[in-house]
Each structure stands twice: as C-alpha cells, then as structure tokens.
Point group: C4
Chain length 497, copies 4
C-alpha cells in the first residue's frame, strides 16, 4: 500500500492537464476520465485538487467509482492530517441536512406540513432539485389545482364499516393505491436514500419505481424485500446503448423488480430555474460547457436536473425502441410520460408488448403548460375509453390529499404516484417521514372512500365525481374530435406505426 499523500500535493493537480480528486480517503487521478464524465468535465474540474466526497457521495450509487476508473487511477490514501478544516460551501447556503431540530412526524398533519418541515432541513441544492419545475411552475401548480376543481359526490346510507384500499397493477396486489414514482437522487434528502423509501413502502404495501438516476444501486434498494413487495425500474435509454443493456441485464436478475418503466416525457431537460440558481456548475471559461441531448450548449448554468440528462438518447421511437427493449428484458414493459389521448391510444395498440402506462407530465418539470394527467385521463375517457381495457393506467403529479387519490381512481386510474412527497418525507424524517406521508395519504383515502360510500377501489367510478370544470378545458382540436375518432385513429396508426 502506497504511502499517504499530502493534500498540498493534490491541490496542485487542478487542471484539465492533470486532475486529481480525493474521494472516500483515497486520491484519484481522473485526468483521462474527464471527457467521458456523464455530468460533463466542468463539474469535476470545479472540484479538482480537493476532497470531492461530500459533493460526490449523495448523487452516485456505490460502485460507480470502481466501474468508471481503473485501479491504477487510485494513487494512494490521503494524509488526513494535511486536509484543511471543512468550511460551509459558499454555493450551498441552506442548512446542512439533519442540522435542524426534528419535529415528531405524527405532529405533521398533511403533505404541505411535511414539505415545510423538509424545506427547513434540506440543503439548498437538494431542495432546489426537488422543488424546481419548468419555467414558471404553471404545470406544477396546475397538477394540483385541477384536483381542487373536481367535486366529490358523497352518497348516503352506504355501509362504510369496511374499507379496502387494495388495488392491482399488472396483476400484482398493492395494499394501497399509492406508489412512489421514479424520482432521482434520494440521498440528497437523507443517507437512507431510495432504500429508506423502500422500507416505508414495505410497511404500507405501496409499489415503488426505482429511478434510473437513483443514488443507490437497484440491488441495494431491493435488498431483503419480501416476496410481495413490488418494485419497478425506470429506464432512461442511453446514447451508448450498451450501458442500458448492461443495466437491463442486472435488472433481469432481480426478482423483486416486476417491470421496466420506460420514461418518455423528458427526452430533453425542461428549464428548471430554481435548480439552475442553485447550480453546481460555476465555470469561468466556457471551453467545456454542458451540452443537452441535441448537442446544443446549455446556457445560464444548469442544475442537477440538466446534468442528469447527459448521455440520454433523444432518438427513441415506437418502431425502433420498443422492439430493442423487448429484446433485452423479459419483464413487462410500461411507458411513462404520456400526455395526450393519441399517445395513450397508440400505446394500447402495442399491447400486450406494452402492459401499462403512466400519465405524467414529469411533475411539471419538462414542458411548462403541459397538461396535468387529469386532462389526459379525461381525454382518454372521452375519445378512446377502450384504452382502459387494454392497459393498466396509472397517473402521477400534484397529489396532495386522499381526495386527490380517490378522484384519479374514479376517473379510471389503477393507482396514483407521488414523487416530491416521498422525497420531502425522506428529508423531513427519513424512513419515518416517508411512512408518515403514506400513512396520511392512506388514511385520507379511506376517509374519502367511506364518505363516498365505496368499500373497494373497484367501486369508485364516474358517478362519484363532478368534473364539469376540468372537462370544459380538455383538448377538442384536430385528432381529438369525437366524430372523427375512427378516421383519426386510422391516420394516427398509418402515420406513426
């Protein structure tokens, strides 16, 4: 074993020509790796010559280092006595994670209070990544407010002593109709990360979809899961397809993962200004700036949101991508990010290869003024309700209350996903915080079902909701007009398949 290296020596290697970083107590020479870093070389150069562990750790699953670098790149252990005292990072003015006094989770009564508690505890960077949405946050807000515009229709004289919240997805039983959407970088909220979310889901029988950009490996996340715990795995296809194929091969080995969820609502990153403001990229000369999927320069910084998109394949199509995916996994395939009834209809034409769809506008983080998934549900109801027979349809975006859950179920969803809420729960109280989120939603959902007079999820239907206000605003332009439905479908199929 080589002898400890002085931090002053490391500090000299802070250029593209010679770039050393300290990670977990070892000094690495990453000069040759710079051009292939998925997040771009600048983000590494910013940390050149320094201890990068704090920045690196919460956003890289274990094993990333070993996969990316050869053993020769490890130059030896750092001499800890030579390291400077850690100082508060200037770029991250929020409180350190977990530095704020905790409140008992049971004192938090609703999801807004949990977000408020998490906001106090999260780092500025972590909060900004979770909170941010595209442009003016119009879709983010609409995702929630559209539920407020739908009225419930409680019935009387219904025996509500029993209440069964169980539902199914792809034939799997779920104890509650709530799942965790694939949301990246959970360790920005809490060291327990995605594994912590899994523990809470286990307790409540909730399904969890693992992000392609999780901060832990799938193997870590599903470790020791009981046979009835249901996971999905989200795929962002890489430009370097081999990487995705390798990953799929790993997923194929994990029995706990029941399906692969191909994400389609963010082929290029939306503009998340709050995230950009807390950007982790500050670079004086623009010589090696980040580029987006189309090779276009990313200006004005670029937060975590944008750096995650590095290397994603923007060329996916129905005819090319689906067969490729089917070739590399035997697990059921579902599609995430459908925002129009036309695409829902097209997906149903690909059943049974496609088994389910997630209506989603990516939490309002992709295209601002994209429709909330309630719109897409109502469009499908109006123009092509047969989709519900061919595919399991679930939704996410904007869920804050059990009444929201119930409304989505009434409109035909089999379950609803939460993204930020799970992350904020994790930030507010770790595993216990996520449990509290699921508990609140579960209890509110049961109250709403009882007051409607529905004992089982399957009994919920259109007669339980008044959607006049929302319905008035859904799309009725070309391709969506009732009378032309048959012809339109014909054209769509001819044009796209």
């Amino acid at each position: 074993m080589s002898k400890p290296i002085d931090a002053a020596e490391v500090a000299k290697h802070n250029t593209k020509e010679s770039c050393w970083v300290i990670l977990y107590g070892s000094v690495w020479d990453v000069t040759d790796f710079l051009p292939s870093h998925p997040g771009g070389s600048n983000i590494v150069l910013k940390l050149a010559g320094k201890d990068a562990t704090e920045e690196y750790d919460p956003i890289h699953p274990p094993g990333t280092l070993e996969e990316s670098l050869s053993e020769e790149a490890r130059l030896g252990p750092i001499d800890p006595k030579t390291l400077p005292e850690p100082v508060q990072s200037a770029k991250d003015v929020g409180p350190e994670p977990n530095s704020v006094a905790s409140v008992p989770m049971s004192s938090l009564l609703n999801l807004d209070e949990i977000e408020a508690a998490a906001t106090k505890k999260l780092s500025r960077k972590g909060w900004a990544y979770y909170y941010s949405a595209a442009d003016d946050l119009h879709s983010k807000h609409l995702n929630n407010s559209i539920y407020r515009s739908i009225l419930l229709r409680p019935r009387i004289f219904m025996d509500c002593s029993k209440c069964d919240t169980s539902t199914t997805f792809l034939g799997h039983n779920l104890r509650i109709p709530i799942f965790v959407s694939p949301a990246a970088m959970a360790r920005l909220a809490h060291p327990d990360g995605e594994w912590g979310i899994a523990q809470a889901c286990k307790k409540f029988g909730a399904m969890q979809m693992i992000s392609n950009n999780a901060s832990m490996t799938p193997e870590q996340i599903v470790k020791n899961a009981p046979p009835d715990q249901i996971f999905g795995w989200q795929l962002y296809v890489q430009i370097d397809k081999r990487k995705s194929e390798d990953m799929l091969a790993r997923i194929n080995e994990l029995d706990a993962i029941k399906f692969v969820c191909l994400t389609l609502d963010a082929p290029t990153p939306g503009k998340r200004e709050e995230d950009e403001r807390a950007k982790n990229i500050v670079d004086k000369d623009n010589s090696s700036i980040l580029k987006d999927a189309g090779g276009h320069e990313l200006k004005g910084g670029g937060g975590i949101g944008q750096s995650l998109f590095f290397g994603m394949d923007p060329t996916l199509t129905w005819s090319k991508t689906l067969p490729w995916l089917a070739e590399h996994t035997h697990k059921p395939i579902i599609l995430k990010g459908l925002q129009t009834h036309e695409d829902a209809y097209l997906a149903s034409q690909h059943a049974p290869r496609v088994k389910g769809i997630i209506l989603s506008n990516h939490g309002g983080r992709a295209a601002d003024t994209a429709p909330p998934s309630v719109h897409t549900l109502l469009e499908i109801r109006k123009y092509c309700p047969e989709v519900f027979d061919k595919l399991d349809v679930v939704v996410d975006g904007g869920i804050k209350r059990g009444t929201d859950v119930v409304k989505a179920l009434c409109l035909g969803a089999k379950a609803v996903g939460i993204g930020r809420a799970a992350l904020f729960g994790l930030g507010a109280g770790g595993i216990e915080g996520v449990e509290r989120v699921l508990e609140i939603l579960r209890d509110e959902t049961m109250t709403a079902m009882r007051l409607l007079g529905a004992e089982k999820v399957g009994e919920l239907g259109l007669r339980h909701v008044n959607t006049r206000v929302a319905e008035r605003d859904i799309y009725d332009g070309p391709g969506g007009m009732d009378g032309l439905q048959g012809a339109v479908k014909g054209l769509l199929i001819k044009a796209k398949l």
Copy 2:
C-alpha cells in the same frame, strides 16, 4: 356521607390500573369505566388524578355522569382546601370564555363581525371546534362563495310595503325561513348553551334542531317552550342500538320536538385539522389510541370532532335503518346530509315515511370538495324536480347574508339552516348574540324580498335569480344526464332499494 378526600390522595390514582377524577366536588373512581368511555380512555387518563370538571362540563349534558357510573364509584367529596390554585391550561392558549370586554351586539352589523367578536372571546379549543372544516376548507368556502355567484333580479313597480317572511316545514308555521342546524357542544361557547339558542329562536319564531351531541339534555333545551316553538332532534345512530332507542323513547315524550332528523353526511369523521391542532388528546404511549367507526386507528391526534364519532354506527342503509327508526319513533322522519340528486330522488321514493330532507355537506366538515347544497338544489331542479312536491326540502351551509337566504328559497328550499353562525352568536354575546344573528338575517332577508318585489316566501322563484355561473358547474355525468333520467332512476331503485 363520607369524609372529604385529600387532593394529594386523588393525585396518586392516575393510571389505567387505578383512575380517579374529581367532578363537581366529588371524587369518582372511573377505573372500570375507562374501556367504555365514548371518547376513548386516553382522554380520561389525561385528567386522571385531577379535577376534570372544567374539561368535562361543557361537553357533557347533565345526567351523563349518573347514567354512566354506579353510585359506588362516587368515593366521597373532595377536600376543597387541598386543591391547587387553578392555572391556565397549557393546551388551550386562547382567552378564557367571557374574559374579553363585550361590545354591544347592536354595533355588529353582519355575520362576519359577529364571528370576529366571538373569535376574540372563545377558548382556542372551542373556536377550533366550531371554525374547523375538512382538509383545506374548500367546501366550507365554496358553501358561501357559490351564493355570491348567483345574481338577484330585482323587479320594479312592485308594492313592497308588506313583507311576510313566514314559511312552513312539515306543516308547522315558522315566522322566519331560518333555522338552527343541529350543531354540537354549544356550551363551549357560553354557559347558556343550546338552551340559550332556544330562547333566541323563540323570540324570532325560528326552528331549532337539537344536536345528538348537545351539551345539554333535550329536556333542558325545550323547557318551557311555548306551543308554537318548533324543535327537531338529530339522531346519530349508535353501534349500541339500545342507547339510541332509549334516547328516542325520551324524545317521543317531548311534545316540543316535532320530528327526528337522521344525520347521514358524516358516517365517518372528516379530517378537521384545526380541531386536531387544538386537540384535547395528548398521549405519549399509543396503547389505547382512538379508533374511527371502522376500527381504524385515528392518527395525528384527533380533536373534539373525532371524539364525538366514537360509538357511531357506520352501517346505516336505506333498507335496514329506516324501518328500525320508524319502529322506535312516531314522529316524522327527515334525512340530513344529502349531496346528490340521486339520493334526493331515493328519499322521495321513501315518502311518506320520509317527510323532508336537509341538503347539507355538514358545513364542509365531512368530505372536502363535497358539493355545496346549492349544487344539490340545482341538480334536483334539473333532473328530478318532482322531489320538491314529495318532500319538504331545506338546506344549510355557507349562509352569511339575507340575500343568501332568499336565493336558496328561490331555488326551492323551504328554509335555510345556520350552524356556526348561531354558535358564534352565542360566543359573542350569549342569548343576545344569537338574537342579533337572527335579527340581522331576518332584516337582510326582508330587504332582499322587498327589492325583488316579493311579499311572501312562496312568491320567490327561479325568475328572481340568475344562476348561470353555478349551473355551468353542476354534475352532468352518469346517472345525471337528462335524457337517461327514467332509465337511471329505474336502475337506482333496483340497485339500492
């Protein structure tokens, strides 16, 4: 008579194993009673070993103690000299009732000002119980704002020198078309409680419905009522049916009570967070936590609202409950809490056993985003107007102005109920405060009738109101579509009756 007991001795008995409390100067051993306390055992244990009178008194009608406990449980008088000085309860940070300087009731010009005056005087707990509504208070606010969206259509050249506000309900004459809805726990507002409300109603010829959870006995409330004063009595059916039957037997004996009102809009409690925040249950170990109607644990505390639901029967149905009720009372039956035209239609199919209905969403306290009763009125108007011929229809929720009263009457209601307004009136000024509430509404109602050009309540009709804005939003989904009305009704009847 036993000799006075020292408070220090009482203080030792503060566990589930031995639980003593002081009530009205006597020491009671309630250990055996703990498991059957309607509000759960924790709420009692919290007061174990102490003088519980202040907590107990405003929410239990006289006689409750004697009914629930045997004489042996009374251990003897407390030695008053040994009691500690009373201290301001930590959990109840609001002002003590009546500690705030009073304003003359006549200086309060409208119901908002009365609520503001009451808010200053009520205890935090009392205010929270009255003010709170489900979730985000959406239905509570909608109940009122929907009236603002309806425009009046004043006519000219109508002789308005006379104005007669009288109406009828179940054949009884009411001097004003305003009644007090069954609202619980009036003694939280003022020691005169429900009896005080009755005195104000007597003065104005207003009907009063007595809550099943009144803080006084029905006998106390109707005491010395003149023959033309009209009361109803609200029934929440208990799981232990015998308790309800005993209560009905008592009601049957009271001539002043003209009908029984079966409440159906809250088979399980809504989530009233403001009430929970002011919760009277703080318990470190969760060994004997409150459960809701379905046996499900109540988390996050649980205010007065939830504790009242303990023991309520959630299994009521058209076919089971109505015949049982008819067997145990000879008084006319009305149903409270209908929120859909379907249920109104079904109720009308049960005439003449059912004689009237109250359209209500429980003041927005049950399901949040439940429709305001104006929606239900408009639905009935549109889909099954014959209901108005078969049943006396009244409404409550959101009434703040005489114009609101008049609008409900124009749409077919025979009268409108107020709940919080009466309680806030009581809190603001006792009997005089409730009188002021009724006076304001009566006067505003007369002004509105005169300006419309209607001398009598019966002359008010659809031509006096423009409901375009509200009408646009009422339900038109399955079961509600005009053309399918006949078929739908058939199905409804087949399915439910």
Copy 3:
C-alpha cells in the same frame, strides 16, 4: 327683534319635551316638529340644545327650514359670545372638508386618482355616504369589472381625424354621451353642491339629473342655465303624495328641466354598512328609532342613506303610479332602476307615456348581487331588442374609463351616467374637479372612438365589442328563454298590466 339668547339657556332644552336647536344664528323651538321630521326625531334630539348648523346645512336645501317651521318657532338670535369653541366632532374622524392641501386637477390622470384625492379631503361622513354600497359591495365592484371583461375591436384604415361625441336623449342634443346621475347630498362634498356640478356640465354639454334629495333647490341648481343645457329631475314619490305633487308643480315651472325621472330601484333602502358605521344617529334609548318604508324598525344604526328614505312611498305600481304622475306633470317621464329585460319590455309597452329608461342597480347601493346594467343591456339585446326602438335607453354604474362609455354605447345605450365620480370630482376640487372628471371621460371616449374607427356615436355597434365573457353569464331562466319569448311576453303583460 328679540334679544340674544344665552347658549347655556338653549342647552337646557335638550329633550323630547322641550327641544331647541341653533341654526344659522337663530334659536328654534322644534319640539312640536319632532314627530314629523323626515329623518326621524332621534337625529334631531341628538343635536338638541346645541348649534346644529354644521350638521344641518349640507343636507338641507335652503327654504327647508321656513317650509317646515312657523315663524313663531324662531325664538330669537343666539348670543354668539356664549357659544363654546367648536371642537372636532368625535363621530366624524375624517379631515374637515377642504382642510387638505389641494393638488392641481390637471395632475390627476384618471377617475381613481380623483377619488383618491377626494377621499383625503372629504369628511368621514361624506365619504362614507358616497363610497358605501349594499352588503359586501359585490354589485358595486361588478358594475365596473364587467366592463373590463368586454374587449374592444379596433379597426384599421379608418379616417379618424374627426370625432363627434354628441348624442341625443329624448330629442335633446348632448355634446358628450355622459350625464350626471341623480346623486344626493352634493354639499357634503363642497359648498358649491349641485349648482357646482351644473356649471361643469354646462362647460362640457353634459346632461344632469337633479336628485330628489339634492342639498340645494332645483331653482338654485338650474339658475342661469343657457337654453341648451339639459336637466332632468328625479322623483322619489312620498307617502304624503301632496308633497310630491307640490314639488312637481315647482318642476313644471322650470324650463331648464326637460323631463321627470321616476326612481324605482330603491323602494326600500339597501344595507350600506360603511354609511351605517359613520352613522349620524347615536341614541341610547330606542324609543323613537328610525323605521323603513314598510314600518319595520331600522337596526344597527342607519346612515344618511337610510334617513333619506324616510317618508318614501313603497307602494308604487305600473297601473297606479304612472297615471298619477302623468296627471301632475306635462314633462316627459323616464323610469330609473330597471334591472331585468322583463321590466324593460314592460316599460316599452308604456311608450309613449314612458319615453326613456335608465338601466341601473343604484350604484350597487340597493340589492347586493343585483346585476350590472351591462347584463340588462345584453338581456334586452337578446330577448327584446325592439325596446331600443321604442325607448331611449341609458345606463349608469361602474363607469371609470372612456372605454367603458364606448362599450355601453356599442351595446345600445344612448348615454351613460356617472354618480360617485361627479361627487368625488366635486370633493376633490369643486367645479374644477367635476370639470376634470368630464374632461378625462370625454378625452378617453374620443380616444376609444378613434381607435375603433368610429367618427360618430351612432356608428358604434355590436361589431366593435367582444362580449363573450359577459354574455355567458346573463340570465336565461324562465321568462328569459329565447324560444318562449312570445308566450312569456303574453304572460307578463297579462299578469302585470
């Protein structure tokens, strides 16, 4: 001439049994007059034993004193040396009229700025009387906001070098399509009062309607008016018809007054809480409280608005009142305060006895949530457009901009009235302030006409405005449905005429 009376002596006579007041330097014994005071006796008793001039003067036209009291009631001159120093009235916390530094009228750019300037200068009582409207000010605000919801449709390539704002009413030429609605008590704003308004109208060729409750006599107001200045006179019919007949006889003698305007939108006073708060009636014992038109007690005080209604006849009808009025005046009759197309249609059936109508909801001061006059215009357009052929239709309420003026003209009005704006102009700067109001509206109107491409008022039409938003909300209930129009009219005529 009697010898001066000591103020201390006067002060003793402050009861119902003996009531003296000082007015304009004389002492009057008003004991016998108390019961017949139009504003009730309390308002007088409050000032008993004191100098009442400041209270009395701005709301009583000259001659009122002499008409009401015999010369014997004048006891003699007050001894001025014995009067106490005037003190700031406790009930009137606003600044004294004209005590605030004036701004040049030309620096005020719009009507809101003029209202703001007036608000600083007016007494609390005067401001409250002008500003106040019924209940929650919903109709007052709607009167204005409805204009904002109408879009203009400017046309291009229209020669707009010339712009002629003249219009006609009852055959009279008006230089601008803006008139001053009958608004009471102008001397609360400025000593020049209604005469001052007349001077400004003369300069701009604007029509003026004189209020029945003007603070000056009609003779004073029209004094020295040139032949082409157009006045109307507003009639509130008194219960004591002889008083109205005497007044009509005086009006018949005044050539400057071209028509009589019978006000019908306030047969009973609306509830103007701001006015009540600044009430001029504070009375400990309620022995001689104000009563409204129907003999009902007025509670909660009662501001200027209510006191003006004392003695008004609430029994007016089409069949009784119109013939009576025609008998007592030879001048054309117009009706003010129509709020439904039904009443507009009925009025048109009374042409040519009725020559014109003012669509008005009394500035939102009568029934709150009454429709804005734009609604009534649109209703007439939709259900009975022939009314425009039979009657001259004008509107008032909510006018703040020249674009508002133009929109009303596009919808069929011949002119639009302003009420508060004229009074606030008077308060802000006397005659010059009213001139500034008219100048601003005139100039804005011309700009709007030019940008629309209309040279003359008569060219403005429906094609210049987009009323989709407003039209969606107008009444379409019974009596208003298009298809039933003929039948409905038949019924209306049968029922009411």
Copy 4:
C-alpha cells in the same frame, strides 16, 4: 470660426421671442424653428437658454439638427468653462443610465429577470416610456396571460435529436422565428441604440423592424449588415406627405431593408399614464400646448408616447393610402396592427399588393382592452383560415417564454415579435443584453419544440396546443358568425373596398 459664447449670455435667451439652446457644444438660435418643432414648442422652451444635449441626444437621430436648421442658426461654440456643473434633473428621479453595477447577462435566466435588471439601470423617463401601456394595462397583461391559458400537448417517442428553428418571412430565411418589432427610442436604453439591436439580431439570425421613430437613422442601423440579415422599415405616414415620401426614397436605396411595414394600430396615441407621469413637458402657461392627431388638446401632460405622434396622419384608408404607398416604394408592403379577422380578411383581399400582416395591439399601448393577437389568430382560424394562404401572418405582444413563441407558431404565425424585451435587454446590458434575450427565447423555443416532438417549425400545428380556454372567449358577434361568413365578407368588401 466665431468666438466662444458665454453660458450666461445664452441663459438670457429663454423665451419664445428669443430662444437659444446649446447642443453638442454649439449655441443655436431656434426662435424661428419653434412653431414647426414636431414635438411642440413647449418641450423646446423648457430647455431654452440651457444645454439641451442630454435631453435631445437619445431621441433624435443624427442629422436631425442639420435637416431642421440652417447654418446661420448656429451662433458659435459655447465657452465650456462658463457652463454650470451638471446637476441631477429634478424631473427624472431614476438612476442615470449605466450608473448601476452590471450583472453578468448569463446569470439572468428569463425575460422577467432581464426586465428587472433593466429597470434598475434605466432612467425614470426611459423606463416609463418602455413600460407604459394604455389606461389600466389590461391589454398589456392579457397579451401575456392568454399564452398561459393555452396548454401544450407534448408527444412521446418522437426523435428530438435535431431541432431546426428556422422560418421564412416574405420568402426570406430567418434562423429563429423571433423578430424585433418596430420599437422607438432605443437610445433611451443604451447609446448603442437600434444599431446595437441589429448586432444582436445578426448573431442569432433574427429579423428586425426599424421604427419610424428610431433614435438613429436607418442608414446607421443597417450599416455593414451581411447580405442575409433581414430588416424591415416601419412607416408612420406624416400629415406632410412629402416628409414620408422623402423617407421612403431613402429606404428604397437601402438593400438591407426588405419591406415596408405600415403601422395602423395607433392612428391616435393611447393614454399611457406611466409615461405621462414621467412627462418631459412641464409648462406653466398652456399657451402652446400639444395637440393630438385630430387637433384636440392633449391634457394632463403627455409623455414621450404622445409627443411622437405629433404630425402623424390620422386619415389613412384602404383605398387612398395603399396606392399612394405602392407608388413610392417598390419594396413589399406589410400592414401592422390588425386586431380583427375582418381586417385580416380585407388585407388578404389586397394581396399581392399586401404581402404580410402583423397582428398586434401595439403592445397594449393603444386601446386598452383591445384583444391580444392570440384572439385575432384564433378568429382568423375560425372565420377565414384562407388568410394564412394568401399572406404571411406574424404576431407580437406578450411574448415572455419559448413556449409562447411555439404556441403562436402552432396557431399559424410564421414568427413572433418582441418589443419591450429587446429594449429591456439593451437597457440591461447593451448588445450583450439583447443577445441574451434572443438566446433565452431561442433556447426555450428549442426545448418546447423538442418536447412537443416537432423538428421543424412547419411541423407545429393545432394538434400541439389546447386552446379551449382562449377559444371560449373570442368574438362571435355580427360579422363573425360562422354561418354568415360568406354574406358578411360580401358586405365587408362592398362597404370598405
């Protein structure tokens, strides 16, 4: 060369009878020129006897002085030593241009942040001129908010690796579908003025329309433009037609200018109160006040907006103006300021003489409550879509985001214009600031196109946008009803052509 003149001597000549001003170091006698000054004589008299350079420079293109005055009027050089120290102008309380510390343009993430940065740096007068709009800014705000009400419809599985933002206008290729609308007085923002805007446009391939009231000459602005840079020139026709003809002759000589844009949406100035408040005209006696196009006095001051209208011809018509214009230019003609489908249709009847139209309400600066150009686009779509075949249609007003750009393109526009945004960019950072504006909009536009799944501008269509909310509100009155289209067009043509 004459000897230097003492400033004290100049100061004596400050009246209409003898009026000297100092400009660029020379003393001029402008007494004879006063009556013919385009901005009125007062604006000059205010500066009489003083150094007027600072006021004069940013709003007059070079050469204006020499054109307007003979060489004899130049009396000689000022003696600089005799000039007083410059003091902060009292009328202009904002910061001096460029006195505020600059922020890096790349740190500004969106157009609102650029406006905020510019607001800090601009003079009060410059800011007010740019920011202001008519009356209550209703149309200005609506211009933007209407885009928020349109939802995007992102499609999935679309290859979005490529994105081509190029479009065409009148056959010219534009690299981005964004142009700079003709906006006056750019040197109020920055000394680089309109030439600076041109440099930024060159970099991004954006079209620029040069204002008739530019603060630089067209020759200066287009200097050294590469052959593929596209300019248009805006014409306000002068009452003195010869001036316009002379100007057209100059424009005809400039190859870089590809078309003439005749502005029609402001035949008379709108009322821009913010501009008036910062007015540059303060004059005690009103002897020589500004007049508007119709010869009507301009009251309440009159900002830069109004002074620019001096001398404009308000008598333009289809039949008179178009032939005259065609006679004086061989360049293609486009019309700016159409706000109704009727006018768009009429314009299409004048093709090919008219080649394109700009739908615009003058940035909300002419008629307040004029429709946003999205309305006009939707009207054309609904009533006369053939217009899109005959004319190149572009729009401006309210563009703040790339999604706004894309929405306009989906509805049929070939490109969208920005006015204030370019000026605020110039104010925030000169050329670099305008570049940042174009860069932000370009990047946001590409993101939106990619997320919709459209590679080229021409692929964007109605199926990509949900316009239900906006469509509900567009005009459907006379002349616009679907069924009557043919007849209406006939009438229109007969009446106007």
